[in-house]
């Protein structure tokens, strides 16, 4: 597929992570335009009209979120969530490592829109390269006069701080991120109050995902109508999908929303590897229920995927092929959540531990007949009873897997071994 890139411009333009290259290809022109031609409110309005929705997973309309800030004269903060740690999702990583200036530019415009004087990037601890790239890009933007006092003689001033997390999935949850940014233990906060009212250091704060903010410069340059010309009415614009699994060309793809899942796999990612077929697909990162092969024509927009029984989430599209053991996959994912549960609330902390142990036992052929019922009941005792979405995320895949592949789970118990065992381990490039 050859199509113009607006976010992953690095896939078209070599070395766009370099300041000069970014500038030579129109970089920071959107900022100049915004500062010269727009009032802050007008930028908020533009983003509202574009219909841009949060790309971190929840899909909340960005402009509406910005509109929640109370107008009470307190300092405001923009915090960019770059704590991308959802298994199967790696889009923000590419953006900050390969095209960091677009994020910086988007942050300056967004900060101008919400009238923040300080902005933070909370970078996942393991993203050392991304952290270095962001730090360099911020320095270059300062040197060029795009950051600091009186940016481009507009009177607007902004400082950006790049903060490196310590490696916790939970810190991708916005309130845990703010706790961590304040130097505290990364545990989610009680809501309300929401960050827009009382966020970083108790001040009104907007927390946006990297990809969300990276959408802002092209929207400013090309207009809201350009954005709404793509996708659907409720899900307009572009989305980066991270495709992994046994496809021919795994990677990040920038697609207009509502592109069918089949097109993403076959056209963008080059189809399945020879001899492999789709067993099921996780369309939106490890936290969402799976889609079956007969659902491959589902358009990838927020509403359609929801209707199909899953969620578009962060766009981490994991294609599981027919060699994958569904119990092992479930165990692998639940174990992730067991490791990453912050421990604050009981159902998530204890439930993930319990489920991971049971799944490990079933996969090892030591399951017994009651295990499936226990798993479903434990999942039910987690469902909707946790403090933050992490608990619910831990059961999304498992519950759908048991629903669709009950036979395979039962076979593990019945045969006291993994029926898929050999296939999994002898794959050539596992």
């Amino acid at each position: 597929m050859t199509q113009a890139r607006y976010l992953l411009r690095n896939q078209e333009i070599e070395d766009i992570d370099q300041f000069e290259v970014y500038r030579a290809h129109g970089g920071y022109d959107a900022l100049k335009k915004a500062l010269a031609e727009f009032e802050p409110e007008a930028v908020v309005d533009l983003v509202k009209r574009s219909g841009l929705r949060g790309r971190g997973g929840a899909g909340f309309p960005t402009g509406v979120k910005w509109g929640f800030l109370p107008k009470d004269g307190r300092p405001r903060y923009l915090v960019v969530n770059s704590d991308e740690a959802e298994p199967g999702t790696f889009k923000d990583r590419e953006l900050i490592e390969r095209n960091p200036h677009q994020l910086i530019e988007g942050m300056i415009i967004s900060s101008f829109a919400i009238q923040a004087r300080q902005a933070y990037i909370y970078c996942r601890g393991e993203f050392l390269r991304g952290y270095e790239q962001l730090s360099r890009a911020v320095q270059e933007a300062y040197a060029a006069g795009f950051l600091g006092d009186n940016i481009l003689d507009s009177g607007f001033a902004l400082d950006i701080f790049v903060y490196r997390g310590a490696g916790a999935y939970i810190c991708g949850e916005e309130s845990a991120l703010l706790e961590s940014l304040e130097g505290r233990r990364g545990n989610p906060r009680l809501k309300p109050p929401f960050p827009a009212v009382a966020g970083l250091y108790g001040m009104p704060t907007i927390v946006n995902n990297v990809e969300t903010i990276a959408n802002v410069p092209p929207i400013v340059t090309l207009g809201a109508e350009w954005y709404t010309s793509m996708g659907t009415e409720k899900s307009p614009g572009l989305k980066i999908m991270s495709v992994s699994g046994k496809v021919n060309r795994p990677g990040n793809y920038e697609i207009p929303l509502a592109t069918p899942l089949r097109a993403l796999i076959d056209d963008y990612a080059g189809g399945m590897q020879p001899g492999r077929s789709v067993k099921c697909v996780i369309p939106g990162g490890s936290s969402v229920p799976l889609l079956m092969p007969d659902q491959l024509d589902t358009p990838l927009d927020y509403e359609s995927v929801l209707q199909a029984g899953s969620m578009l989430g962060s766009g981490g599209c994991i294609v599981l092929d027919d060699t994958v053991c569904i119990v092992k996959a479930s165990h692998r994912l639940v174990k992730f959540y067991r490791e990453e549960s912050c421990g604050k609330c009981t159902p998530c902390r204890e439930g993930t531990y319990w489920m991971a142990d049971v799944l490990e036992r079933v996969e090892a052929g030591m399951g017994d007949e009651g295990d499936l019922a226990i798993l479903m009941d434990v999942a039910d005792n987690i469902n909707g009873k946790c403090f933050c979405p992490l608990g619910d995320a831990s059961i999304g895949f498992l519950v759908s897997a048991i629903r669709h592949f009950r036979d395979e789970f039962e076979a593990h118990v019945r045969e006291h071994s993994c029926p898929m065992g050999e296939k999994v381990y002898d794959t050539a490039n596992y």
Binding site: A168, R338, G343, C345, T346, P347, E350, N381, I382
Partner: protein, 769 residues
Amino acid sequence: MIRLTIDGQEISVPEGMMIADAAARLGIEVPVYCYHEALGPLGACRMCLVQVEKMPKLATACTTAVAEGMVVHTQGAAVDKGRKGVLEFLLINHPLDCPVCDKGGECFLQDYTFRYGPPAGRFEEPKIQKVKDGPINEFVLIDQERCVLCQRCVRFMEEYVGEPQLLLEGRGVETVVSTVEHRPAQSQFAGNVVDLCPVGALLATPYHHKARPWNIERQESVCPLCPVGCTTLNTGRDGRIVRVEGRPVLDRNWGWLCDRGRFGFDFAVSPDRLTVSRLQGHDEAAARATRQVGQWLEQVVGQYGPDSVAFVIGGLHTSEEAHQLYRFATEVVGTSRLAMSRQVQGYLPRGLNGTFEDIAAADAVVLVGTDPYEAVPVVHLKLRERWRQQRDLKLFGVAPRTLGRETLPVDTLITHVGHEAHVLAQALARVVPDHPAVAQLAIQGDSGFDDAATLAQLGQALVNSEHLTLLWDGVEPEVESVLIALATVRGAKVTRVLPTWGPSNWRGLERGGFPARLEALTQILKDARDGKVQMLVLWGADLLREYPDAQLVQEVYQTVPYIIGEGLFLPLGSESMRAFLPEASPGEMAGTYINMEARVQTLTPSVQPPGQARPTRSYLNAWAHSLKKSFVAEDDWDPFDDESGDLLPVEAIPATIAPLSPVSQPSGEMELATGVLVMENGIPSELLRSRKPQALARLSPVDAQRLGLSAQGMVRVARNGEELRVAVTVDQAMTPGRIYIPLGVPSCPVNKIGTGVVEVARLEEVHSA
């Protein structure tokens, strides 16, 4: 007000209240672990799940605020399953060691599991293993396996107390409660985490493996160790108190204790406690000793008349004992010589006495001489709670040393020793110089305090605040006059004072009939020195430790032929006493204590008095017999008042304002300052030995350097030819030119030399071979 329905019952509650609290008002139990009203909502344990109509999921009652027309169900299939699920989760990694757990039988995990939990567990996987019986400090153990991670302890220390010494370590199911850098949590409020812990994770070391709940009874009582009078639950076992817990009183206190009160209960079994009668310097049978004293009493009264006998009360006696002694002295003996021995010279008229509600409502607080953190610790927590609610609370201190600390910032006006009254009056005069009450103070002299801006700020707070609450340590007696002037100036605006001195029940002793002012005691001592007193009965009073002029007391002890002592511990100068009788301690008898709020609170005994220790009335009955007079100690006297309930009757504020003595700037290099500290109040505790400071005295770094002292050392403090030798520590909070030694420490009685200008010299340390 918000109207809502819970389980079919309608209720109106203030906006912002959580469902859990609204349900509690209806008497509906919503089980909780992490939620505590004093700490605010957290939402961690998920135990309090309830069904709210029109909400898609179960809601946590502790984090969901009430809303108009809300319909809540705390029961039903969904709620029951939710609770079962949470309890099952809490139990999967919880060890089944209830049979050896101190909390077994008084544990919320047991109780809720019994009431709401699943009948059997389904978890068959290995449990996570964690540290058992690890230390939090020398008094608190942690069993991390039993912990349900409700975070009450961590949040209490970090947010409520402001001393973040506990934390969560690790993540997910490996999370544990631990101490910062694995150092002992040294806060004097750390013991409260034992009460806060809903399960058997945090345990009191002194009570570890001591008893089972069905072996013991917890008696509602009051801590006697400082004038706060914290409400407690005392556990007695095998004749001794083995545990003291905080006892919350609805809408009044949260049940916090300081470690001094929580672990200081062992004074009653201290090896220093006297449990045998002493007669002429020897141990004696109780009956013989009592009879002998009775005979002396009869002889003295017969020979010299009733007024030759003087009674001085003090120590830990209850109000009832004071009243019995008062009746015995006045009705049976017929003497008018009654007095009380207190730690300090100052006196607070009842009319000015405030309650803790005056802290909760204050917009300005002034600490006169006292640092509540060290003198009345739980009041420090009350002040901090108020300050956290209202960050613009004005907090001033007037004292010879800094009173503020990180957890409670105070603007302290550092005065010369003995100048508190003068500086307060200066501040008052700055704002209302022409007020007649200020004129009556007759402010004269130079206090050396000339920071006009600070004085004006204090003056503004004193005069213009809506609700002014003062805490006073009573060391500088002329402050009383300024307080009366202040109340006069403020008129209708609330002015309340909380006295922070001891003995804890001095108001109760006063209520019992003994005059509390120092003048009464001074008169008796002077009369005694002049030979007008033949028998001096010291009922719990330790004059050499407490009376400001130790010289006078020494003379009295040489002069009076019959000195009869009674108390828990042998006082200083006991060799001058003809007899010394062992006293029953507050945990060993029923009675009342009246605290610094002038509030009457009831003590319930947990154990019998040990050995020959007796309550007051036993002695009095015997002596009445010797005097051949009838005396019935039990009567219908009741310290409670019909009108004012558990507070003492309100009295008018005195009208006369005594003029202040003129002050002048001290001539010497160093001044000795003093005050009442709860750790050093003379009541021994083996358990708390590690918490007692190594060095009694405190010096500023500047003075320490001048004297050539390192972090610690010995000094000689001299005045008027008398001297004290005392270990000193360097304290950053001390002001140069002051040395601080707490009042009433038997090994270093400040009253031997008195406060004011002193000479301080370093003593070479003598190292033993």
